[in-house]
Amino acid sequence: MRGLLKHRGALAGTVLLLTVLAAALLAPVLAPYDPARVPTDLAARSMRPPGREHWLGTDLLGRDLLSRILYGARVSLLVGLAVALLTAALGAGVGLLAGFYAGTIDAVFMRLTDAIMAFPTLVLAIAAVAILDQPGLLALILVLAAVQWTAVARLIRGQALSLREREFVSAAYALGARDLRILVRHLLPNCLAPLLVSTTFGVASNILAEAGLSFLGLGIQPPAVSWGSLLSEGAVYLTAKPWLVIFPGLAISLTVLGCNLAGDGLRDLLGPHPAG
């Protein structure tokens, strides 16, 4: 923890992330307007450029962009974090089993990850979304986790492969420990550092993936709002009303930058582990 405070990049990243998280949690308090309600004086409020009343401007339906970005943060962060947690759990599970048991299990799992990793992640996600036909938030999270877990599995498998040869594992066996106990009590804790680093980077790539899908109109559907769907709505007016595109994109960039800074910092602090 002291190291974190000394590492400038990690500190900046963590502060950035905490700020975004706080803004998302406090959206109902912070948002100056209802993000979904169309104002009664629509004609006067539609497509206002950024100004004193609406700091970041308004959209076609006169809705305050700042409020929409604050509420959008909740969906974007929720997807980013939920997918990262699922990915970490699934990746760590598969990686530990494959690395620990090696042999056939390993071969099968690794061929599976080979095959999945041959697809560009977003392409596979688009295909899955097309098949599911307008998935809801939960299905979207599951789809993203299903295409993103492979890198984590590879990483943890590598760790497990080298850890299982270590003396403390033989010692645990000699003491009569079973496989499950060794996996959970001895291997898993030793994989936590790289897992944490890759999960931090993972949040960034999940937020980007959700934004990409929603931007293409295949992710979050109205009336729900995410940063990606805000960009999707704004893209139509790019040349005439650029603020509708500039600000949601800045929100994404800053958040992803925060994750990358924090991830770089954690990697420096926790030792030389390769991470996605």
Binding site: A115, F119, V123, L124, A127, G249, L257, N260, D264
Partner: protein, 314 residues
Amino acid sequence: MGLLAFALRRTLQLAPVLLGLTLIVFALQALALGDPVRAAMGQRGDPEVIARIRAEYGLDAPLWAQYGRYLARLLRGDFGRSFRQQVPVADLIVERLPATLRLALAAMGLAVLLGVAAGVTAAVTHGRLADLAMMTVALVGISTPVFWLGMMLILLFAVTLGWFPISGYGEGDWRHLVLPAFTLGGLHVGYIARMTRSSLLEVLREDYLRTARAKGLREGVVLLKHGLRNAALPILTLIGIGLGDLLVGAPLTETVFAWPGLGRLLVAAAANRDLPVVLGATLLFALITVGASFLVDCCYVVADPRVRFAGGRR
């Protein structure tokens, strides 16, 4: 072992990957079984007609038989027929592929050129202001959503400055290519710059570099012939992995710039639930990724003879 033998053995190693990825596409197809025909026909579709179409597409046979038939059809270059447009998916892909390849190659070229240049500059000025500036830009670069970067480039260079067209293919006019290529390559410039820097910094500490300098070689020669050549492998690896990343950006970039490529074909088909087209384009993206990493592997052998003599056990 020669390049040819190496290439041949890598091809054999590719077989399980190819089998696996066709299996995934097939599984996705099976997952959607029944629904696509109904979706294409609408809720009031005549059950008899639906049954006939299912038989026509071979959707009533057992799964393993369907997979076998699916593979056989793929080998003949038959990717199925579009539900919506009633033309072979292969025709649609062939029509769109050149635009995507052109864009991806231009983007990769730009990314390598800019990324290596920035990385070398940063490594040489290690710890000084230029290094910090380059690495900050690189970090911001990898944190920016591709499609948003594209729209910002449009605002600046097309709308405000008027240097390049806003979007479209422009029948191959190079000016139409500039902004999409920068957009798609932009993310990768950051990755390549970071990797070039760290990889070169490591090589710069080696003894043989001191030797080269002691021989009185000019700094430029030392850096490029002795430094960068030895730092090339990790960069090559990154380019190989990166092609996958690059293709992730293709659907987004092509959508932003109305670029008539494979990515836009995929997105439009996904919006229309035209599953044969979705799955065909998805499979092709995977094949391009696998093909690219194969080429990069062959480049290893050319760039570093050690790989060849190590018997390819990487």
